[in-house]
Protein backbone atom coordinates (compact mmCIF):
# COMPACT_ATOMS: atom_id res chain seq x y z
CA UNK A 1 0.00 0.00 0.00
CA UNK A 2 2.81 2.31 0.96
CA UNK A 3 4.65 1.53 -2.27
CA UNK A 4 1.52 2.13 -4.33
CA UNK A 5 1.03 5.49 -2.64
CA UNK A 6 4.64 6.39 -3.36
CA UNK A 7 4.28 5.43 -7.04
CA UNK A 8 1.12 7.51 -7.28
CA UNK A 9 2.72 10.58 -5.66
CA UNK A 10 5.78 10.37 -7.92
CA UNK A 11 3.53 9.81 -10.95
CA UNK A 12 1.58 13.00 -10.18
CA UNK A 13 4.82 14.93 -9.57
CA UNK A 14 6.27 13.68 -12.85
CA UNK A 15 3.17 14.58 -14.85
CA UNK A 16 2.94 18.03 -13.28
CA UNK A 17 6.65 18.61 -13.85
CA UNK A 18 6.32 17.78 -17.55
CA UNK A 19 3.12 19.75 -18.18
CA UNK A 20 2.01 22.50 -15.82
CA UNK A 21 5.13 23.56 -13.92
CA UNK A 22 6.26 25.78 -16.80
CA UNK A 23 3.25 28.00 -16.04
CA UNK A 24 4.89 29.08 -12.80
CA UNK A 25 8.37 29.37 -14.33
CA UNK A 26 10.26 32.57 -13.68
CA UNK A 27 12.58 33.32 -16.60
CA UNK A 28 12.53 29.61 -17.53
CA UNK A 29 13.50 28.58 -13.98
CA UNK A 30 11.06 26.02 -12.59
CA UNK A 31 10.73 24.41 -9.18
CA UNK A 32 11.69 20.73 -9.07
CA UNK A 33 8.60 18.88 -7.86
CA UNK A 34 10.27 15.50 -8.18
CA UNK A 35 13.09 16.41 -5.79
CA UNK A 36 10.55 18.02 -3.50
CA UNK A 37 8.59 14.76 -3.42
CA UNK A 38 11.77 12.78 -2.86
CA UNK A 39 12.58 15.07 0.07
CA UNK A 40 9.23 14.27 1.73
CA UNK A 41 9.65 10.54 1.08
CA UNK A 42 13.17 10.59 2.52
CA UNK A 43 12.06 12.41 5.66
CA UNK A 44 9.09 10.13 6.14
CA UNK A 45 10.61 6.78 5.24
CA UNK A 46 14.39 7.05 5.60
CA UNK A 47 17.41 6.23 3.48
CA UNK A 48 16.58 2.81 2.08
CA UNK A 49 13.16 3.58 0.52
CA UNK A 50 14.35 7.05 -0.54
CA UNK A 51 17.34 5.59 -2.42
CA UNK A 52 15.15 3.12 -4.28
CA UNK A 53 12.51 5.78 -4.95
CA UNK A 54 15.17 8.21 -6.18
CA UNK A 55 16.66 5.60 -8.47
CA UNK A 56 13.30 4.57 -9.95
CA UNK A 57 11.92 8.06 -10.50
CA UNK A 58 15.29 9.16 -11.91
CA UNK A 59 15.23 6.28 -14.35
CA UNK A 60 11.73 7.20 -15.51
CA UNK A 61 12.90 10.79 -15.99
CA UNK A 62 15.91 9.54 -17.94
CA UNK A 63 13.68 7.72 -20.39
CA UNK A 64 12.54 11.10 -21.69
CA UNK A 65 16.10 12.16 -22.52
CA UNK A 66 17.42 10.78 -25.78
CA UNK A 67 21.05 10.64 -24.63
CA UNK A 68 21.59 10.56 -20.88
CA UNK A 69 20.09 7.35 -19.54
CA UNK A 70 21.20 6.82 -15.95
CA UNK A 71 22.12 10.40 -15.08
CA UNK A 72 18.98 11.23 -13.12
CA UNK A 73 18.90 7.75 -11.61
CA UNK A 74 22.44 8.29 -10.28
CA UNK A 75 21.94 11.80 -8.91
CA UNK A 76 18.52 11.13 -7.40
CA UNK A 77 19.46 7.86 -5.71
CA UNK A 78 22.45 9.61 -4.09
CA UNK A 79 20.29 12.53 -2.99
CA UNK A 80 17.59 10.18 -1.68
CA UNK A 81 20.24 8.31 0.31
CA UNK A 82 21.73 11.52 1.74
CA UNK A 83 18.33 13.01 2.58
CA UNK A 84 17.27 9.84 4.36
CA UNK A 85 20.10 10.36 6.82
CA UNK A 86 18.81 13.83 7.65
CA UNK A 87 15.75 12.13 9.08
CA UNK A 88 17.89 10.93 11.94
CA UNK A 89 19.11 14.46 12.73
CA UNK A 90 17.15 16.64 15.08
CA UNK A 91 17.73 19.72 12.95
CA UNK A 92 15.01 18.91 10.41
CA UNK A 93 12.15 19.88 12.72
CA UNK A 94 11.89 23.62 11.97
CA UNK A 95 10.52 25.14 8.78
CA UNK A 96 13.67 27.06 7.91
CA UNK A 97 16.12 24.18 8.54
CA UNK A 98 13.94 21.92 6.38
CA UNK A 99 13.92 24.48 3.57
CA UNK A 100 17.69 24.91 3.88
CA UNK A 101 18.23 21.15 3.60
CA UNK A 102 15.96 21.06 0.57
CA UNK A 103 17.93 23.95 -0.94
CA UNK A 104 21.22 22.11 -0.32
CA UNK A 105 19.80 18.86 -1.74
CA UNK A 106 18.69 20.50 -5.02
CA UNK A 107 22.02 22.32 -5.21
CA UNK A 108 24.00 19.10 -4.74
CA UNK A 109 21.78 17.28 -7.23
CA UNK A 110 22.31 19.97 -9.85
CA UNK A 111 26.05 20.08 -9.29
CA UNK A 112 26.25 16.35 -9.95
CA UNK A 113 23.80 16.55 -12.82
CA UNK A 114 25.46 19.37 -14.73
CA UNK A 115 29.04 18.24 -14.16
CA UNK A 116 28.30 14.74 -15.43
CA UNK A 117 25.98 15.72 -18.29
CA UNK A 118 28.38 18.35 -19.66
CA UNK A 119 31.57 16.41 -18.95
CA UNK A 120 34.42 17.09 -19.88
CA UNK A 121 33.41 20.77 -20.28
CA UNK A 122 33.64 21.67 -16.57
CA UNK A 123 33.28 25.40 -17.31
CA UNK A 124 29.94 24.86 -19.02
CA UNK A 125 28.84 22.57 -16.17
CA UNK A 126 29.64 25.20 -13.54
CA UNK A 127 28.01 27.89 -15.66
CA UNK A 128 24.76 25.90 -15.86
CA UNK A 129 25.02 25.12 -12.16
CA UNK A 130 25.25 28.80 -11.25
CA UNK A 131 22.66 30.11 -13.71
CA UNK A 132 20.16 27.23 -13.60
CA UNK A 133 20.95 25.09 -10.55
CA UNK A 134 21.19 27.90 -8.02
CA UNK A 135 17.91 29.65 -8.92
CA UNK A 136 16.13 26.28 -9.24
CA UNK A 137 17.31 25.31 -5.76
CA UNK A 138 16.12 28.66 -4.40
CA UNK A 139 12.72 28.39 -6.10
CA UNK A 140 12.22 24.79 -4.93
CA UNK A 141 13.24 25.69 -1.37
CA UNK A 142 10.78 28.62 -1.29
CA UNK A 143 7.98 26.39 -2.60
CA UNK A 144 9.01 23.75 -0.07
CA UNK A 145 8.81 26.35 2.71
CA UNK A 146 5.25 27.27 1.69
CA UNK A 147 4.23 23.58 1.67
CA UNK A 148 5.94 22.94 5.02
CA UNK A 149 4.14 25.96 6.45
CA UNK A 150 0.69 24.74 5.39
CA UNK A 151 1.41 21.20 6.54
CA UNK A 152 2.64 22.58 9.85
CA UNK A 153 -0.52 24.67 10.27
CA UNK A 154 -2.68 21.71 9.39
CA UNK A 155 -0.91 19.64 12.03
CA UNK A 156 -1.49 22.39 14.59
CA UNK A 157 -5.19 22.69 13.71
CA UNK A 158 -5.81 18.95 13.78
CA UNK A 159 -6.39 18.57 17.54
CA UNK A 160 -8.83 21.54 17.59
CA UNK A 161 -10.92 19.99 14.82
CA UNK A 162 -10.88 16.68 16.67
CA UNK A 163 -12.17 18.35 19.83
CA UNK A 164 -15.02 20.13 18.05
Amino acid sequence: MKVLRMVLVFGVALILQSTLVRLVAIESIQPDLILLTLFFIALAEGSYPATIAGFCVGLVQDLYAPQTLGLNALSKSLIGFALGFCRRGMFVEGLIPRSLILFAAVLLHDLLYFLISLWPDIGAGLNRFIFVGLPTALYTAVLGYVIFYFLHRKEQLQPLQDIS
Binding site: S18, T51, L63, Y64, T68, L69, L74, L78
Partner: protein
Protein backbone atom coordinates in the same frame (compact mmCIF):
# COMPACT_ATOMS: atom_id res chain seq x y z
CA UNK B 1 22.28 -15.79 12.33
CA UNK B 2 20.74 -13.01 14.36
CA UNK B 3 23.96 -11.05 14.02
CA UNK B 4 23.93 -11.49 10.23
CA UNK B 5 20.33 -10.32 10.04
CA UNK B 6 21.22 -7.30 12.18
CA UNK B 7 24.22 -6.51 9.97
CA UNK B 8 22.15 -6.86 6.78
CA UNK B 9 19.44 -4.63 8.19
CA UNK B 10 21.95 -1.96 9.20
CA UNK B 11 23.89 -1.97 5.96
CA UNK B 12 20.85 -2.23 3.68
CA UNK B 13 20.86 1.50 2.72
CA UNK B 14 24.60 1.35 1.90
CA UNK B 15 24.19 -1.78 -0.21
CA UNK B 16 21.20 -0.23 -2.00
CA UNK B 17 22.95 3.02 -2.81
CA UNK B 18 26.05 1.17 -4.04
CA UNK B 19 23.96 -1.02 -6.34
CA UNK B 20 22.01 2.03 -7.56
CA UNK B 21 25.23 3.92 -8.34
CA UNK B 22 26.76 0.96 -10.19
CA UNK B 23 23.61 0.35 -12.26
CA UNK B 24 23.35 4.08 -13.09
CA UNK B 25 26.97 4.23 -14.23
CA UNK B 26 26.50 1.14 -16.39
CA UNK B 27 23.41 2.75 -17.95
CA UNK B 28 25.32 5.99 -18.53
CA UNK B 29 28.12 4.23 -20.37
CA UNK B 30 25.76 1.99 -22.31
CA UNK B 31 24.47 3.07 -25.74
CA UNK B 32 20.81 3.06 -26.73
CA UNK B 33 19.45 -0.47 -26.66
CA UNK B 34 16.28 -2.22 -27.74
CA UNK B 35 15.21 -2.74 -24.11
CA UNK B 36 15.52 0.99 -23.51
CA UNK B 37 13.29 1.75 -26.49
CA UNK B 38 10.72 -0.75 -25.18
CA UNK B 39 10.84 0.80 -21.69
CA UNK B 40 10.50 4.30 -23.15
CA UNK B 41 7.55 3.25 -25.31
CA UNK B 42 5.82 1.65 -22.32
CA UNK B 43 6.34 4.72 -20.12
CA UNK B 44 5.21 7.21 -22.76
CA UNK B 45 2.16 5.09 -23.61
CA UNK B 46 1.12 5.05 -19.95
CA UNK B 47 1.79 8.71 -19.15
CA UNK B 48 0.91 10.36 -22.48
CA UNK B 49 -2.93 10.24 -22.15
CA UNK B 50 -2.80 11.99 -18.77
CA UNK B 51 -0.28 14.55 -20.01
CA UNK B 52 -2.40 15.11 -23.12
CA UNK B 53 -5.50 15.65 -20.97
CA UNK B 54 -3.77 18.17 -18.74
CA UNK B 55 -2.30 20.06 -21.71
CA UNK B 56 -5.69 20.15 -23.42
CA UNK B 57 -7.43 21.38 -20.28
CA UNK B 58 -4.86 24.11 -19.87
CA UNK B 59 -5.18 25.21 -23.50
CA UNK B 60 -8.96 25.33 -23.32
CA UNK B 61 -8.93 28.74 -21.66
CA UNK B 62 -6.67 30.04 -24.38
CA UNK B 63 -8.82 28.98 -27.32
CA UNK B 64 -10.92 32.14 -27.73
CA UNK B 65 -8.05 34.59 -27.86
CA UNK B 66 -6.03 32.17 -29.92
CA UNK B 67 -8.86 31.86 -32.41
CA UNK B 68 -9.05 35.63 -32.85
CA UNK B 69 -5.29 35.87 -33.24
CA UNK B 70 -5.21 33.07 -35.78
CA UNK B 71 -7.99 34.63 -37.88
CA UNK B 72 -5.99 37.84 -38.14
CA UNK B 73 -2.82 35.90 -38.92
CA UNK B 74 -4.68 33.90 -41.53
CA UNK B 75 -5.67 37.06 -43.39
CA UNK B 76 -2.16 38.45 -43.20
CA UNK B 77 -0.66 35.20 -44.44
CA UNK B 78 -3.17 34.91 -47.26
CA UNK B 79 -2.11 38.35 -48.51
CA UNK B 80 1.54 37.45 -48.11
CA UNK B 81 0.92 34.19 -49.93
CA UNK B 82 -0.37 36.03 -52.96
CA UNK B 83 2.81 38.09 -53.13
CA UNK B 84 4.98 35.02 -52.61
CA UNK B 85 3.16 33.13 -55.37
CA UNK B 86 4.10 35.91 -57.74
CA UNK B 87 7.69 35.75 -56.52
CA UNK B 88 7.72 31.97 -56.93
CA UNK B 89 6.54 32.18 -60.51
CA UNK B 90 9.24 34.72 -61.20
CA UNK B 91 11.76 32.43 -59.48
CA UNK B 92 10.70 29.47 -61.64
CA UNK B 93 11.14 31.53 -64.78
CA UNK B 94 14.59 32.69 -63.70
CA UNK B 95 15.64 29.16 -62.71
CA UNK B 96 14.56 27.88 -66.10
CA UNK B 97 16.57 30.61 -67.77
CA UNK B 98 19.64 29.60 -65.73
CA UNK B 99 18.97 25.83 -66.20
CA UNK B 100 18.81 25.23 -62.45
CA UNK B 101 17.27 22.04 -61.10
CA UNK B 102 13.73 22.44 -59.72
CA UNK B 103 13.83 22.78 -55.93
CA UNK B 104 11.98 20.03 -54.09
CA UNK B 105 8.80 21.01 -52.31
CA UNK B 106 8.07 20.36 -48.67
CA UNK B 107 5.10 18.13 -49.33
CA UNK B 108 3.15 17.82 -46.14
CA UNK B 109 3.30 19.83 -42.96
CA UNK B 110 1.53 18.19 -40.06
CA UNK B 111 0.38 20.07 -36.97
CA UNK B 112 1.12 18.42 -33.64
CA UNK B 113 0.43 19.60 -30.14
CA UNK B 114 3.20 19.62 -27.51
CA UNK B 115 1.85 17.45 -24.71
CA UNK B 116 4.85 17.20 -22.40
CA UNK B 117 8.32 18.52 -21.86
CA UNK B 118 11.30 16.64 -20.56
CA UNK B 119 10.87 16.84 -16.77
CA UNK B 120 14.47 17.82 -16.34
CA UNK B 121 16.84 20.78 -15.94
CA UNK B 122 18.06 20.75 -19.50
CA UNK B 123 15.15 20.66 -21.86
CA UNK B 124 16.50 18.40 -24.59
CA UNK B 125 13.26 16.89 -25.78
CA UNK B 126 9.49 17.34 -26.01
CA UNK B 127 6.67 14.89 -26.51
CA UNK B 128 4.21 15.68 -29.31
CA UNK B 129 0.72 14.27 -29.78
CA UNK B 130 1.25 12.53 -33.11
CA UNK B 131 3.01 9.29 -33.78
CA UNK B 132 2.73 6.14 -35.81
CA UNK B 133 -1.01 6.85 -36.17
CA UNK B 134 -0.09 9.87 -38.34
CA UNK B 135 2.69 8.08 -40.23
CA UNK B 136 5.48 9.95 -38.54
CA UNK B 137 8.98 8.52 -38.77
CA UNK B 138 12.33 9.06 -37.10
CA UNK B 139 14.47 12.00 -38.25
CA UNK B 140 11.55 14.04 -39.58
CA UNK B 141 12.23 17.76 -39.05
CA UNK B 142 10.03 19.65 -36.59
CA UNK B 143 9.44 23.38 -37.01
CA UNK B 144 7.31 26.31 -35.87
CA UNK B 145 6.41 29.41 -37.83
CA UNK B 146 9.57 30.97 -36.38
CA UNK B 147 12.01 28.29 -37.45
CA UNK B 148 13.56 24.89 -36.86
CA UNK B 149 12.81 23.19 -33.54
CA UNK B 150 14.50 19.78 -33.89
CA UNK B 151 13.91 16.29 -35.19
CA UNK B 152 11.91 13.22 -34.24
CA UNK B 153 14.05 10.65 -32.46
CA UNK B 154 11.46 8.14 -31.31
CA UNK B 155 7.99 7.34 -32.66
CA UNK B 156 5.36 5.76 -30.41
CA UNK B 157 1.79 4.65 -31.32
CA UNK B 158 0.18 8.06 -30.69
CA UNK B 159 3.09 10.26 -29.66
CA UNK B 160 6.63 11.08 -30.75
CA UNK B 161 9.72 12.24 -28.93
CA UNK B 162 11.37 15.28 -30.49
CA UNK B 163 15.02 16.04 -29.87
CA UNK B 164 15.37 19.81 -29.64
CA UNK B 165 18.20 21.83 -31.10
CA UNK B 166 18.98 22.65 -27.46
CA UNK B 167 20.39 19.16 -27.15
CA UNK B 168 24.15 19.36 -27.56
CA UNK B 169 23.99 16.18 -29.62
CA UNK B 170 21.78 17.77 -32.27
CA UNK B 171 23.99 20.04 -34.41
CA UNK B 172 22.62 21.56 -37.63
CA UNK B 173 24.41 22.38 -40.83
CA UNK B 174 23.76 26.11 -41.18
CA UNK B 175 24.64 29.13 -43.26
CA UNK B 176 24.52 32.89 -43.13
CA UNK B 177 21.60 33.99 -45.28
CA UNK B 178 23.29 37.15 -46.56
CA UNK B 179 26.68 35.75 -47.55
CA UNK B 180 25.85 31.99 -47.87
CA UNK B 181 28.82 31.07 -45.64
CA UNK B 182 28.37 27.61 -44.12
CA UNK B 183 29.07 26.42 -40.61
CA UNK B 184 27.82 24.07 -37.96
CA UNK B 185 25.29 25.38 -35.44
CA UNK B 186 25.15 23.70 -32.06
CA UNK B 187 24.02 24.43 -28.54
CA UNK B 188 26.74 25.21 -26.06
CA UNK B 189 24.85 26.02 -22.87
CA UNK B 190 23.08 29.19 -21.73
CA UNK B 191 20.48 30.65 -24.05
CA UNK B 192 22.53 31.03 -27.20
CA UNK B 193 23.96 28.81 -29.89
CA UNK B 194 27.36 28.86 -31.52
CA UNK B 195 28.09 28.80 -35.24
CA UNK B 196 31.34 26.89 -35.67
CA UNK B 197 33.85 26.21 -38.44
CA UNK B 198 33.53 29.65 -40.02
CA UNK B 199 37.00 30.87 -41.12
CA UNK B 200 38.02 34.20 -39.58
CA UNK B 201 38.30 35.96 -42.94
CA UNK B 202 34.65 35.36 -43.83
CA UNK B 203 32.14 38.18 -43.78
CA UNK B 204 29.76 37.67 -40.85
CA UNK B 205 28.13 40.56 -39.02
CA UNK B 206 25.88 41.03 -36.04
CA UNK B 207 22.24 40.93 -37.15
CA UNK B 208 22.87 38.40 -39.93
CA UNK B 209 20.17 35.75 -40.24
CA UNK B 210 21.25 32.11 -39.87
CA UNK B 211 19.33 29.47 -41.83
CA UNK B 212 19.67 25.73 -42.35
CA UNK B 213 21.94 24.89 -45.29
CA UNK B 214 20.39 21.52 -46.11
CA UNK B 215 23.85 19.99 -46.41
CA UNK B 216 23.30 17.30 -43.78
CA UNK B 217 20.39 15.92 -45.80
CA UNK B 218 18.21 15.79 -42.70
CA UNK B 219 16.83 19.31 -42.45
CA UNK B 220 15.50 21.13 -45.51
CA UNK B 221 17.36 24.17 -46.74
CA UNK B 222 16.25 27.66 -45.73
CA UNK B 223 14.65 27.09 -42.33
CA UNK B 224 15.27 29.96 -39.95
CA UNK B 225 17.65 29.12 -37.08
CA UNK B 226 18.42 32.46 -35.51
CA UNK B 227 20.27 35.75 -35.64
CA UNK B 228 23.95 36.49 -35.12
CA UNK B 229 24.31 38.53 -31.92
CA UNK B 230 28.06 38.44 -31.40
CA UNK B 231 31.05 37.98 -33.67
CA UNK B 232 34.60 37.81 -32.41
CA UNK B 233 37.88 36.35 -33.56
CA UNK B 234 40.42 35.16 -31.04
CA UNK B 235 44.06 35.80 -31.76
CA UNK B 236 45.76 32.96 -33.65
CA UNK B 237 42.45 31.21 -34.13
CA UNK B 238 41.54 29.99 -37.58
CA UNK B 239 37.84 30.35 -36.96
CA UNK B 240 35.42 33.07 -35.90
CA UNK B 241 33.56 32.83 -32.64
CA UNK B 242 29.92 33.44 -33.61
CA UNK B 243 27.09 33.50 -31.09
CA UNK B 244 23.56 33.04 -32.45
CA UNK B 245 20.28 33.78 -30.71
CA UNK B 246 17.74 31.12 -31.69
CA UNK B 247 14.63 32.28 -33.53
CA UNK B 248 12.46 29.75 -31.67
CA UNK B 249 11.60 30.23 -28.02
CA UNK B 250 12.03 26.66 -26.81
CA UNK B 251 10.40 27.40 -23.47
CA UNK B 252 7.05 28.39 -24.93
CA UNK B 253 6.42 25.68 -27.51
CA UNK B 254 2.75 24.72 -27.64
CA UNK B 255 2.20 23.54 -31.20
CA UNK B 256 4.77 22.44 -33.71
CA UNK B 257 4.73 21.30 -37.33
CA UNK B 258 6.34 18.13 -38.59
CA UNK B 259 7.69 18.30 -42.10
CA UNK B 260 6.64 15.02 -43.66
CA UNK B 261 9.04 14.37 -46.49
CA UNK B 262 8.88 11.57 -49.00
CA UNK B 263 11.25 8.76 -47.96
CA UNK B 264 13.10 8.77 -51.26
CA UNK B 265 14.00 12.44 -51.06
CA UNK B 266 17.71 12.91 -51.46
CA UNK B 267 19.76 15.75 -49.98
CA UNK B 268 19.57 18.78 -52.13
CA UNK B 269 22.69 19.59 -54.14
CA UNK B 270 22.95 23.00 -55.63
CA UNK B 271 24.32 23.07 -59.16
Amino acid sequence: MARLAFWTDRSRPYITVTVAVIVSIVLLTMGPSHQMVVARTAMVTVLAPVQKGISWFHQLGDFLSQNRRLRRLNTELALENQLLREAQLENVRLRQLLSFREREQLNVILLAEVIAREPDRQMNSILIGAGRDRDLRRNMPVVTSRGLVGKIVEVFPRTSLVQLLMDRNCPVSAMIQRTRISGLLSYRGGTAFRLENVPWRMDVREGDQVISSGLGGLFPKGLSLGEVIEVSAQERSLFKDIIVEPSVDFNSLEEVFVIVQPAEQSPEVEP
